[in-house]
């Protein structure tokens, strides 16, 4: 059972490592013109379903007319939130939500078992589980250069009809 608890965070971590390895090499050619809000926005519009692509371009176009780093970041963060909740969910958004649910479930399950059954696996277990679980959703913006579908290959494959 305890091995099962490790499975989900470890798969998440493996997915992140693979996505990091496969990240788009063009990131090194983009230069400083690609600021963080723009990268976040490009990731966010990748979350949208194909039929919402025009709205993604609308958000991206609007960002191009906003001055000021803070305003741009606030706008991009809002659009990222919209990309995650705007129906219908795209494949990438479904993958992100799946990862968040799985990671939260894994942590909750372990916490519940640790409290209820008094399982004390040692601090290293906590560290490995929390690291694997938390790094999955938190690292998504960091990996914004790669295509959203490649963030979590396992989930993307599960969500894909290909």
């Amino acid at each position: 059972m305890l091995g099962g608890l490790f499975f989900v965070p470890m798969v998440s971590l493996l997915g992140i490592l693979i996505a990091w390895y496969r990240r788009d090499p063009r990131r090194f050619l983009d230069g400083p013109a690609e600021d963080a809000p723009l990268r976040l926005m490009r990731w966010a519009i990748g979350l949208l379903a194909p039929q919402r692509a025009e709205w993604g371009q609308a958000m991206l176009g609007e960002l191009g007319h906003i001055e000021g780093g803070i305003q741009r970041m606030r706008f991009a963060l809002g659009c990222a939130g919209a990309g995650l909740v705007l129906p219908p969910w795209g494949r990438a958004a479904t993958g992100v939500w799946t990862m968040i649910v799985l990671a939260t479930g894994a942590v909750g399950l372990y916490a519940g078992m640790a409290v209820h059954y008094g399982l004390g696996g040692g601090d290293w277990i906590w560290v490995s589980i929390l690291t694997g679980s938390c790094s999955a959703p938190c690292s998504v913006p960091v990996l914004s250069y790669a295509g959203p579908a490649s963030y979590f290959p396992a989930c993307s494959a599960a969500c894909s009809s290909r």
């Binding site: 176009g61 609007e62 007319h65 909740v85």
Partner: protein
């Protein structure tokens, strides 16, 4: 199945802002600033309004290095809805409480 829920207070504010000058095309960021909505709340509202045929969209060509910009204005149905809301007493600007959880 398309649900036909009444518009939220935030959506009513957006509709009213657009109805102030129905013939004028508006930018998303300007609308967000005017109605005090974050982009994460405004765009889902705009998408819903467009899906219901209350909003028409257009593109302003990009200038120089600036990308094309999306423009919005009410359709005839949108104007009718605002008129109906105004007649029903719901067309007044709804105060925004700045509660981030109430914006969605």
């Amino acid at each position: 199945m398309q649900r036909n829920r009444p518009p939220s207070p935030q959506a009513i504010n957006v509709l009213r802002a657009l109805a102030a000058d129905p013939a004028r095309w508006r930018y998303g960021y300007d609308l967000a600033t005017e109605v005090h909505l974050k982009s994460g709340s405004l765009y889902p509202i705009l998408v819903r309004l467009a899906d219901r045929g209350l909003l028409e969209t257009s593109w302003e060509p990009g200038v120089g290095s600036r990308p094309p910009r999306h423009l919005y204005r009410l359709t005839g149905d949108g104007r009718d809805l605002v008129a109906a809301l105004t007649a029903a007493g719901a067309g007044r600007t709804v105060p925004i409480t700045h509660n981030r959880w109430s914006e969605a």
